[in-house]
Amino acid sequence: MEKRIYLDNSATTRLDERVLEKMKEFYFEKYAVATSEFAYTDGIEAKEALENSRQIIAKKLNAKDDEIIFTSSDTESSNLAIKGVVKANKDKNKNHIIVSKIEDFPVLNSAKELERQGYKVTYLPVDGEGFVDIEELKKQINLNTLLVSVQHSNQEIGTIQDIEQIAKICKEKGVIFHTDATHSFMRVTLDVNKIPVDLITIASHTIHGPRGIAGLFVRKGTKIEKIMDGGFQEFNLRPGIENIPGAVGFAYATELITEQENLKIKNLSDKLIQKIENEIEEVVLNGSREKRIPQNANISFHYVEGEAITLHLDMHKIAVNTGSACFSKSLEGSHVIMGIGGGHERAHGSIRFTFGRFNTEDEIDFVLDKLKYIIKELRKLSPLYKGGK
């Protein structure tokens, strides 16, 4: 293959050219800041574009227009959700927060930061497929519990949580519920009229939209305060000049996602999983087979280490991700794979393949072909491999 094969779409996606085209107008023509309706024409047009984008995105969640806050990233959205709720509810003397132990870093490290400030944090265990223990959640919620944050789907293994049930439990107990939907937004249906969730982190860069823009759904009536100081933008929750080209691009990116595309992507990941399981011995699928986001396939290859696999694949122009310690910036193995009880070795040998709009079926056969050879060669080297079954 001449061109590179990109299978790291959960890290980020390639921007769709059509999105970029839509955005250009707001860099070169309607580039004014969004002003009030009593200012000049350029500003009013910019404001209209911003509100129109907000409306488009709100509809995708079945939310009201003014329940979407634009932020700079999914990281910022989750920080605002968690720290903003804590800040606004200081008077309640509730000092307990619950998160799942396989959350992505924005939620996990926000919780850890609050823990350092004196909050009590419960890290909910998950089962072997990554599902949060619902009974444990019920048990852990007490009168001091202010907030629960459980992701909609997992960043590494793609497991989709039963957030409907979690949201209902939280609502019943009067606890605020946030979910990080960075990897599921537009790929899995999420309807805020059916699910009583209070806050949702949504992302643009994972759906072929631009970076530097993301959103936070804030249900009307949720007690939350801004965590950065500045102007009064975004309903006084997120100061700073609005990223209007970003918002326009984000909104258009949501419009370009179809049910058909999600099916196509699911077919690709299903096919890769099936082929790997059929043609390579001693592999294990990480996460849930049924309840997984369509773009995700995460597989551990026993006896070999992930960075060696990714580097070999890279030499064949294939980009994937791994939960191996060697790949991570902190030199620690994936907390997700270890969280599902996979142990260090399964974490180090895990490879995450994530698909997007621009992947094709031909690529799957090429990847499988290379992978078979690489795993065989690396196992020959491995002191842990005893020659197979």
Binding site: E305, E307, A308, H344, E345, P383, L384
Partner: protein, 212 residues
């Protein structure tokens, strides 16, 4: 050609590692690291007893590219050398021979060299050069800690002055590291220290504390 932070020589040894596999009935063998750390090297040697040289050497690796490449390079460096010469091979020589390693990957070179030294030690122990069990002192601990890398610098934690204090009391070693506990590399340094010290015969427990 490559945008990766590895030298051409590292990549070449990664693609085509030398002296791979096991030696049947080796004169010395050792395994360093563990699957838990994500890095493991096994070294096997055959010794020419008349010349006291390493006649044959093979290695196996479970680990990343630099682990494989350093395993490969130490076999080339050690082959044909006398045992005394081979003992003098250090991680710096292995890294230099490969055209350098990224700082966060230097621990791989340490692991490979430790594997080589441990295989020689294994041979010497089997052949009557048994060492006395010495009591663990500050010096023993510091010597061991010179094999724990500081991933920020690519040098060991002793040389980079991040050890604040070492205490040895009734079989418990307590080490205070001059980093906050939420530092990016805090956990990995802690695990590495525990791994290097926990097998000392007179040590029951290793505690690693941070500056906060």
């Amino acid at each position: 050609m490559s945008k990766l932070p590895y030298s051409e020589k590292v990549l070449e040894h990664f693609r085509n590692p030398r002296n791979v596999g096991k030696i049947e009935n080796p004169d010395g063998k050792a395994e360093e690291g563990s699957p838990a750390c994500g890095d493991m090297v096994a070294v096997y040697i055959k010794v020419n007893k008349e010349k006291n040289t390493i006649e044959d050497i093979k290695f196996e690796s479970y680990g990343c590219a630099s682990n494989i490449a350093t395993g490969s390079i130490i076999t080339e460096l050690a082959k044909g050398k006398t045992l005394e010469e081979a003992k003098k091979i250090n991680w710096k020589m292995a890294a230099d021979e490969l055209g350098g390693l990224p700082p966060v990957k230097t621990h791989c070179a340490v692991l490979a060299v430790d594997g080589l030294h441990a295989a020689i030690e294994n041979y010497e122990e089997k052949n009557g050069l048994i060492k006395n069990k010495e009591k663990t002192t500050q010096d023993t601990v510091i010597k061991k800690l010179k094999h724990v890398m500081n991933p920020m610098a690519g040098l060991d934690i002793v040389r980079t002055n991040i050890i604040k204090e070492i205490k040895i009391e009734e079989g418990i070693i307590t080490i205070i590291i001059n980093l906050p506990s939420n530092h990016q590399f805090a956990n990995t340094i802690k695990e590495d220290i525990v791994e290097k010290l926990q097998n000392l015969w007179d040590i029951k427990e290793v505690k690693v504390l941070f500056s906060d």
